[in-house]
């Protein structure tokens, strides 16, 4: 366990007094490393809460720059940062909130060439990206590198959150068990075409942050094997059962995928959240 400074004891006191966290759990958070794909709608609340919680290192990958149309939901950025790389903007916000957190920025696209090496040095991965090819890429990379993946997605007024950790949960599915194939190009409208309720990103991203912290602390019940869906119009959360698919091409009994493939060929659409 690390030696807390006076300031840390004060900063994290509301965690430390929780029996489920305590000094040991807080120490664990300070020694944890989380990698996030996307510093957008979902990445914003996730990064905020992980930083506030004192997660020791946060890696953030995003190739985009801050745009005015992002600010309706991407609350880690602000108007003064327009044109700035999102990862730099996120770093500034996080460091102003909590200097305990080391921020590693990856201001480029995550690809099959670089993803495995990057996630290898982290304990947990958060998917808050905006397109299907990256979702399949991250899933496959996390499977091969045995990293727990907390995945969030949203569309208009709906959100989905699920944890994938087939390496740790024998009955736990991966993303390909849930959706074996991405939709063909054109069948799902993009976010800029479809719109998205800004505050929905807060609801969904915050659940991802809660789940990530629980996974890091190894407390409570995991969302592995359960898909949490949120319908903001009905104000309804639901948990659906997910099963490991024995025929899954990645984590099934006779996998056909034994290494990362080229994901752009699978699907070229970008399905949201620019």
């Amino acid at each position: 366990m690390i030696d807390f400074t006076e300031e840390q004891i004060e900063r994290y006191s509301r965690h430390i007094i929780l029996p489920e966290v305590g000094g040991e759990g807080q120490s664990r958070l300070l020694e944890s490393k989380v990698f996030m794909i996307g510093a957008g709608g979902l990445g914003s609340p996730v990064a905020y809460y992980l930083a506030a919680a004192g997660v020791g290192a946060i890696g953030i990958a995003d190739a985009d720059v801050v745009d005015m149309s992002n600010l309706q939901r991407q609350i880690i950025h602000n108007q003064d940062r327009i044109g700035m790389p999102k990862v730099e903007s996120a770093r500034e916000t996080i460091q102003a909130l909590n200097p305990d957190v080391k921020v590693n920025t990856y201001n480029y696209r995550i690809t099959e060439e670089n993803v495995r090496e990057i996630i290898r040095e982290y304990d947990l991965v958060i998917d808050g990206c905006d397109n299907f090819p990256t979702r399949f890429l991250i899933n496959d990379a996390c499977f091969f590198e045995k990293k727990t993946l907390v995945s969030g997605a949203m569309f208009r007024f709906e959100g989905q959150v699920v944890t994938f950790k087939p390496h740790a949960d024998a009955k736990g599915p991966c993303y390909r068990c849930l959706y074996p194939e991405p939709p063909p190009a054109g069948l799902v409208p993009s976010c800029s075409e479809a719109g998205i309720l800004g505050a929905l990103a807060g609801a969904v991203g915050t659940i991802q942050a809660v789940e990530a912290i629980k996974e890091l602390l190894d407390i409570g019940e995991s969302l592995s094997g359960r898909l949490m869906i949120f319908d903001a119009l009905r104000m309804e959360w639901k948990k659906l059962k997910l099963h490991k698919d024995p025929g899954c091409p990645l984590c099934g009994e006779n996998p056909s995928l034994t290494e990362l493939v080229t994901y752009e060929e699978v699907c070229e659409i970008r399905a949201a959240g620019q």
Partner: protein, 91 residues
């Protein structure tokens, strides 16, 4: 069997905005056909050319995925709640 079907946002334009519709059906296949009769266009969004449920759309009877039950042959009983959950990717 009278069941309720939760319609996800992307498909609500086919149900005049309704987020839930009631339908009579004895199994999931019949449910799809009866949904199509009441709301033309829904079947094409749910099923491929061979009539099978698309790989990026999951259909749950209560909280169980029909792919792990009997697929379109999954029986329905009065009061069942069916949820249609398409893959979404926004972040």
């Amino acid at each position: 069997m009278s069941i309720t079907v939760r319609i996800p946002t992307p498909l609500r334009k086919l149900t005049d905005g309704a987020d839930e519709v009631a339908v009579e059906a004895a199994n999931v296949g019949e449910m799809v056909d009866n949904l199509e009769a009441a709301h033309p266009g829904l079947k094409e969004r749910l099923c491929d050319d061979a009539g099978e449920i698309r790989r990026f759309v999951n259909v749950y009877v209560n909280d169980e995925d029909v792919r792990f039950l009997q697929g379109k042959g999954t029986e329905l009983k009065d009061g069942d709640q069916v949820s249609i959950v398409p893959a979404i990717a926004g972040g």
